[in-house]
Amino acid sequence: MSFLEINGVRKTFGQSVAVEHFELRAERGEFVSFLGPSGCGKTTTLRMVAGFERPSAGHIRIDGVDMTDTPPNKRKIGMVFQSYALFPNMTVADNIGFGMRVAGRPRAEIRARVDEMLGLIHMPEFARRYPAQLSGGQQQRVALARALAAQPQLLLLDEPLSALDAKIRLSLRQEIRAIQRQLNITTIYVTHDQEEAMSLSDRIVVMNRGRIEQIGGPFEVYNFPQTGFVASFVGTLNVLPAEVVDAGAGRVRVDGQEIALGKPISGGAAGQRLSVAVRPEIISPNGAHGPQANQLRGSVEDVTFLGAIVRVRVRLGASAVHFDVFNNPHLAPPAHGDLVTLRFPAESCMVITEARNH
């Protein structure tokens, strides 16, 4: 039996379906992210786990106990909100100790635990400050400490970093992961930021329109997307319209140029239209990947300098392909109008079909 079990959960608001057939099993200490665009049902699912929304169908079990009808204040869950939600009338120490005070723990125990938590978030000198006297990043660290102080069995984070600026976001992200590992607490993290989900999670639940598209580790989700949505939502992707030439040999034609997919196209027939996707970082211009690799010829249409990498758009005819090269100060990037041959291994091509049905 898994530590957290979400079985066949569905949530409707009036006529509209927010979450449909949600199935997840998470183990103790696991860090799971719900990733998806806004309105995909990830926050609604998290709120059902917290108890703020009641599932229209299905069950939620934590450590073997059915929590579906348990009110939020009886679930022993810690939660961090996007808006921090610190109590403005209480000091940092009082905020952190709130859960334990409500639970009626002895004063000395609360004080010791608050001190321990302040140490954990590296803010021992801020105990007597009020939330309004802290920066956004500091407030969110206090919110994290508050969520963890009463030793919850599950930690929920609802887009905790989205209100912060880029630098703080990065450092706090690492801090959250370190603390989570240290305490070995089962964590659900909701985000629409794929980089955040990739860098933090043991597993990612990619959601779209209330449904799970794919569940898997970051490596798996990024490299082996199971649906077109996952492929396009996670990372950047070149999607090329193609026509099947030989389904058995796995050969298709893109803008008049033939390429191999490295595997047969199941259920495909010559002349059938489909889409082929290739990650920009897989493609390299001129030479690399050897003579066996796929080749597409085109002319450089646009060059975007992004710092460490340079993103180049190549026009093939009706479609265009992006590829990335590492910035090299001693090597001039491709110029507009240059003719290039793009190479990429056949096995790196993804064939995109319709989204899978669950």
């Binding site: 996007q82 009338n89 709130f98 009020y130």
Partner: protein
């Protein structure tokens, strides 16, 4: 530089004069109870009058009861409307206009007719309860709007959910999380309520209650200098109340701060 600062000062002075001159004149008049000299005779007369203290005490107690009932009734209502029934906000706001639309005379006669023959009109205590009830209605718009404004300034939903997930039940959420964060709004509503009850005449007089309003009125019709002295005393009391709000607001550092990102 001097030219630039002249006009604002002039307007400020004119505005101040508009308020201060009548008050100063009233004050000066109140000090002339003894012919030819300035003195506090009128004030001494007021404070010597037993009815001053008894009526003041009566209204003060009624005001406190009114405030207590209003707070108990309106804070949870406004909170619930904000959290769960935002669609009811328009209806409640419409209701808050009623005490302005219905004249006090109509209110008091309606109350008297409705509760006629019940313990509320048969006894002195009952009438006092009726009076307090009427004052709760009168102060409803002020109390509701000020509490509602306070609640809108904090992220009620997020604070409630944060407290809930930390194990708090409704009484804890209301008393330890919501109320302290709207305390200033509650206080300002309370002081307006206090001012209304202390000066109210129509209802108290028609219900034949020994309140401060009827006392002032009685004094005005029978004395010359004392009513002016009383006016100055009530101004002083009001200002003291406002000063108290300012003083209390300094002690609450988190007050008025958004709980969310800014």
């Amino acid at each position: 530089m001097k030219r630039a600062s002249f006009w604002p000062w002039l307007w400020l002075a004119l505005g101040a004069a508009y308020f201060i001159i009548p008050l100063a004149a009233t004050m000066q008049f109140s000090l002339q109870a003894k012919r030819g000299t300035l003195g506090f005779t009128a004030y001494a007369n007021i404070f010597r009058d037993g009815n001053f203290f008894s009526s003041f005490a009566f209204s003060f107690q009624t005001a406190m009861a009114t405030i207590l009932i209003s707070v108990l009734l309106i804070v949870p209502t406004a909170y619930w409307v904000q959290l769960r029934l935002p669609q009811a906000r328009r209806l409640i706001e419409l209701l808050t206009l009623l005490p302005f639309v219905v004249p006090a005379v109509v209110l008091v006669f309606s109350l008297a007719r409705t509760y006629n023959g019940t313990p509320l009109t048969n006894s002195r205590e009952g009438l006092r309860v009726l009076l307090t009830g009427a004052y709760v209605v009168l102060s409803f718009p002020y109390m509701y709007r000020s509490v509602d404004t306070g609640l809108r300034a904090i992220n009620v939903r997020a604070l409630t959910e944060a407290a809930q997930i930390l194990g708090a039940g409704w009484p804890t959420i209301l008393l330890r999380v919501i109320l302290p964060n709207v305390l200033l709004s509650v206080l300002s509503g309370a002081f307006i309520t206090f001012a209304i009850v202390m000066g109210e005449f129509t209802i108290a007089s028609l219900l034949a209650q020994p309140a401060f309003g009827p006392y002032i009125s009685l004094l005005s019709s029978s004395k010359v200098y004392e009513p002016s002295a009383l006016a100055v005393v009530s101004f002083a009391l009001t200002w003291a109340s406002i000063g108290l709000i300012q003083f209390l607001s300094r002690g609450t550092p988190g007050q008025g701060q958004m709980a969310g990102p800014r």
